[in-house]
C-alpha cells in the first residue's frame, strides 16, 4: 500500500469507527462533516434573515407580545425611504465613512511607508503606533470626551496654543459644525494603525529584486513609487478600505460614548438610529425593514467593491 495522506488517515482510524462508516459513500461522509456547519449557518444566519424579512412587512412590536400583528405590506419601507430624518442619518454616516477611510488610508499608508524603512527603534515605534487599536472603543470614547472638554480638555488647549483662540471658545462635541469632525478624528486616531499594519504587510510582500531591477533601469524613486509600490500595495489597501468601510458602516459604541448622536441628530449614524428604533422604541417591524435596507446597501456596495478588488488582483 503506498504511503499517502489518505492511507495514513485510513490506518489511523480506530477500528470501531471504521466499522461504523464502512459502507457509507464518500458523499455521505462529506455530509456528516459539513452538516453541523450548514445547520449552524442556517440556524444563526439564514433563518434570522428570513424571519427579519418577514417581520419587515408587519407592525410587530417585540415588547407587545399580545398585540395583534398586522401585515402592512411595503409601508415600513415606504416610511423609511421617505423619512427626511433618516436621509440625514444616512448623510451623517456617509460623511463619517468617507472621511475616516480617507484619513486612515492616507495616514496609515504614510506611516507604513515610513516604518518600512530600516531605522533604529523601528519595532518600538510600530508597537507605540498600534496601541490605540488595542483599546476598547468605550474607553477611547470616554477619554476623548475628556480631551474634547472645552474647559479642561487637552485637545482644546493644544488647538488654542496654535491658533491663539480661547480654549473654551469652541466645543468639539457640542457644535453642529465640529461634532461630525470630532468623531472622524477619534476613529482615525484609533483605527489608522490597523490600516498601517495591512499596508505594511503589502509593502513587505514586494520582493527587493523588483526595486533592484528598476534601479538597473535607472528608474527614479518617484517612478518606482508610482509604478511598483502603489500597484503592488493597492490590493492590500483596497482590502483595508473594505474592512474599515464595513466596520464604520455599523459604527455604534465609539460615537455613542462621544456624542450620543448629538448635538441634535448631527452625529446620529444609521446604526444608532436603528438601535433606537429596534430596542428603545421597540418598533420591531419597522426596524426590520430598516435593517434590510441597510443590509442590501452594504451587501450591494461590498459586492461591487469585491469585484473591483479581484480585478485589481488579476492585473
Amino acid at each position: 500500500m503506498p504511503d499517502t495522506p489518505a492511507t495514513r488517515a485510513a490506518q489511523a482510524t480506530p477500528a470501531s469507527v471504521a466499522r461504523k462508516i464502512k459502507g457509507l459513500s464518500d458523499r455521505a461522509i462529506a455530509w456528516i462533516f459539513v452538516g453541523p456547519t450548514i445547520f449552524l449557518l442556517l440556524a444563526i444566519n439564514i433563518f434570522p434573515l428570513i424571519w427579519t424579512i418577514q417581520l419587515s412587512f408587519t407592525n410587530f412590536k417585540a415588547n407587545r407580545a399580545g398585540r395583534e400583528i398586522k401585515n402592512v405590506g411595503l409601508r415600513n419601507y415606504e416610511r423609511i425611504l421617505t423619512d427626511s430624518d433618516i436621509w440625514l442619518n444616512m448623510q451623517a454616516t456617509a460623511h463619517f465613512l468617507f472621511w475616516t477611510i480617507f484619513f486612515q488610508v492616507l495616514i496609515g499608508f504614510t506611516l507604513a511607508y515610513l516604518i518600512n524603512k530600516k531605522f533604529k527603534g523601528n519595532d518600538l515605534w510600530t508597537t507605540i503606533i498600534v496601541l490605540p487599536m488595542m483599546l476598547s472603543p468605550a474607553v477611547v470614547g470616554n477619554f476623548w470626551k475628556f480631551l474634547y472638554q472645552p474647559q479642561i480638555g487637552l485637545f482644546n488647549y493644544v488647538v488654542a496654543f496654535f491658533s491663539g483662540k480661547d480654549p473654551s471658545s469652541f466645543e468639539m462635541l457640542g457644535s453642529v459644525q465640529l461634532a461630525p469632525w470630532s468623531i472622524v478624528i477619534v476613529d482615525t486616531w484609533m483605527w489608522t494603525p490597523f490600516v498601517m499594519l495591512i499596508c505594511l504587510a503589502g509593502l513587505r510582500s514586494i520582493p527587493d529584486y523588483i526595486y533592484e531591477a528598476a534601479e538597473v533601469d535607472r528608474a527614479s524613486k518617484l517612478r518606482q513609487f508610482f509604478t511598483i509600490t502603489i500597484p503592488m500595495v493597492l490590493p492590500f489597501l483596497m482590502l483595508a478600505v473594505l474592512f474599515r468601510g464595513i466596520e464604520n458602516f455599523k459604527m455604534f459604541d465609539l460615537v455613542v460614548q462621544l456624542t450620543g448622536g448629538g448635538p441634535g441628530s448631527t452625529t446620529e449614524l444609521t446604526s444608532i438610529n436603528l438601535k433606537r428604533e429596534a430596542f428603545e422604541k421597540w418598533r420591531t417591524g419597522y426596524a426590520s425593514a430598516y435593517a434590510i435596507i441597510l443590509f442590501v446597501t452594504v451587501f450591494g456596495l461590498a459586492s461591487i467593491y469585491v469585484k473591483a478588488l479581484n480585478k485589481v488582483k488579476e492585473r
Binding site: N63, G153, V256, G262, F279, E280, W282
Partner: protein, 439 residues
C-alpha cells in the same frame, strides 16, 4: 422627626412578629437605579431581612442604562427582579403588557390604603389607566425636579451689590422662571475668588430622558398641556401652544446664555459635578440628590440652599420618583408582597425618610416636624403639590425619544424654531398614537 424615629422602632418590632411565621425564606432581588436613595434602601431593607427571614439582593443600574436594561428585562419575561422600583412612565406598559402584578386584592386583604399616600404620587406612580383605582405599584420614592444654589455666594456683599446694580433688585431665591434666568445670566462668566463661574447647570442630555426632563421644568410653569382634553389625544394647539413656544424659547435662551461651556449633553451626574466643582451658581436636579448635596463637605452645609422650580404663569415641577411593583414573572411573588406590606408601614416609611429616601406616606409628609427635618423638606412638599408627569402610555418610550430628538435639535443643535420643533413633535406623537390605534 424624633417622634417618627421612636415610632418606627415599635412598629418594626410589631412587623417582626407578623413576619415571624413566613413559611419559606427566599432570596428576593430588588431592581432600581444606582443612586443615593438606593443605598439608603439597602440600609433600610436590613430590617426587613431581620424580621422576615428573607434575604435581599439588589440590582442597581446606572441611570443612563436603567430604562433600557429594565424594560428589556420585563419585555423578555426575565426573572432577575422580584421587585422593581420602575420609573413612573413605565406604569402604562407595565400594566398593559402584564409585567406588573395588579395589587388591588393584596392591598384590600392587607388593609393597605392608597389614601395614606400623597394623592399626586398615587396618581403618578400607582394607577393605570390614569386616575382609576387600579394599582400596580406602591408609591416608593417621591421626587421632583428642583434647584439648589451657592448660598454663600448669594450672601456675599460684593455680589449682592453688583446684582443690585445690574438688575435693580435684591439677589434672592427666584420667584419666577424669568428671575431665575436673570440670576443665572448675572453669574455667567463672573470672576469669583479668582475663578470664572457660570450661571446654572441644566439638563441637555440627548440619549435617555435628560433634555425632556429639563425642558418640561420650563414648559409646566408656562402652562403646558399634553392634550386639549385629557384622554382625547388631541394635541394640536396644546403641545404647540404659544405658551409652550415661549417656554421652549426661554429654555434655549437659558442654555445659550447662562450655562457652562461644553454642557451640551448633561444630565444628573454632570449637574452635580458642575455644582460640586464650584463652576455654577445654581443647578437643577432631582430632590433625591439633595441629602447628598447638603452633606457634601465642600459645597454643602451652610454653603448651599434649595428652592422649588419657580412658577411663571402657574406652579409646575417635573415629576420624578417611582413606585415599587411586584414583577409578574417572579417565582417569589408572596415574599415580594411581604416586602411591599412591610415597606408600606408608616414607621418604616418614617425611617425611609430619615435615611435619605423620599417617603410619599401622608403620616411622614404631614408630620408637624417634617418641614424642619431637612433644609429641602419644605421645598419638596411644595414641589409635590404642583408636579406634572410625562406621558405614561405603553408607548411612552417612542413618545419620549421623539421629544428628545425635537428638543435637542432645536435647543442644542440650533435647528429651526421653537414652533417648528413643537409642530414636528405633534406630528411624531400623532403618528405614535395612530400606530397604537388611539387616533
Amino acid at each position: 422627626m424624633r417622634s417618627l424615629h421612636l415610632a418606627s422602632v415599635s412598629a418594626l418590632t410589631m412587623a417582626a412578629a407578623s413576619f415571624g411565621s413566613a413559611a419559606q425564606a427566599e432570596d428576593l432581588t430588588l431592581c432600581w437605579a444606582a443612586w443615593d436613595p438606593a443605598n439608603a434602601l439597602v440600609e433600610l431593607s436590613k430590617e426587613f431581612e431581620a424580621q422576615s427571614g428573607h434575604t435581599m439582593s439588589f440590582e442597581f443600574i446606572p441611570w443612563p442604562n436603567f430604562a433600557d436594561r429594565m424594560l428589556n428585562e420585563l419585555n423578555s419575561g426575565g426573572k432577575l427582579c422580584d421587585l422593581l422600583i420602575g420609573d413612573s412612565q413605565w406604569i402604562g406598559g407595565g400594566a398593559e403588557n402584564g409585567h406588573y402584578v395588579k395589587l388591588n386584592d393584596f392591598f384590600d386583604a392587607e388593609g393597605i390604603s392608597m389614601d395614606d399616600f400623597a394623592e399626586a404620587t398615587v396618581y403618578a406612580y400607582s394607577t393605570w389607566p390614569k386616575g382609576t383605582p387600579n394599582y400596580y405599584a406602591l408609591p416608593a420614592m417621591g421626587d421632583a425636579n428642583g434647584w439648589f444654589y451657592r448660598k454663600d455666594w448669594f450672601e456675599r456683599d460684593d455680589i449682592k451689590a453688583a446684582f443690585k446694580e445690574a438688575t435693580g433688585r435684591d439677589l434672592a431665591e427666584p420667584k419666577t422662571q424669568k428671575e431665575l434666568l436673570e440670576i443665572a445670566q448675572f453669574f455667567q462668566g463672573r470672576e469669583i475668588d479668582g475663578n470664572t463661574v457660570y450661571g446654572a447647570s441644566i439638563f441637555t442630555e440627548r440619549g435617555s430622558e435628560g433634555i425632556t426632563m429639563g425642558v418640561t421644568s420650563a414648559l409646566y410653569p408656562w402652562g403646558f398641556k399634553y392634550e386639549n382634553t385629557p384622554g382625547s389625544y388631541d394635541m394640536e394647539g396644546a403641545v404647540n401652544s404659544p405658551e409652550a413656544v415661549e417656554a421652549l424659547e426661554f429654555y434655549k435662551e437659558f442654555y445659550e446664555t447662562a450655562t457652562p461651556p461644553g454642557y451640551t449633553n448633561s444630565y444628573m451626574g454632570e449637574s452635580l459635578d458642575a455644582f460640586k466643582s464650584g463652576q455654577v451658581a445654581m443647578a437643577m436636579n432631582w430632590f433625591a440628590f439633595f441629602p447628598g448635596l447638603y452633606a457634601d463637605p465642600n459645597t454643602g452645609g451652610d454653603k448651599i440652599d434649595f428652592f422649588v422650580n419657580p412658577p411663571q404663569n402657574q406652579e409646575g415641577s417635573t415629576l420624578g420618583g417611582q413606585g415599587i411593583s411586584v414583577v409578574a414573572y417572579s417565582d417569589k411573588q408572596d415574599a415580594a408582597l411581604e416586602y411591599i406590606k412591610w415597606f408600606s408601614d408608616p414607621d418604616v416609611q418614617a425611617k425611609w425618610w430619615s435615611l435619605g429616601g423620599y417617603s410619599a406616606h401622608n403620616s411622614v409628609l404631614n408630620d408637624p416636624g417634617f418641614k424642619d427635618s431637612a433644609p429641602f423638606a419644605g421645598d419638596f412638599l411644595e414641589a409635590m403639590g404642583g408636579v406634572q408627569d410625562f406621558w405614561q402610555e405603553p408607548a411612552y418610550a417612542e413618545l419620549l425619544i421623539a421629544m428628545q430628538k425635537r428638543l435637542h435639535d432645536y435647543i442644542v443643535a440650533d435647528q429651526g424654531t421653537a414652533k417648528e420643533a413643537l409642530d414636528a413633535l405633534v406630528e411624531d406623537w400623532t403618528e405614535v398614537f395612530e400606530d397604537e390605534g388611539k387616533l
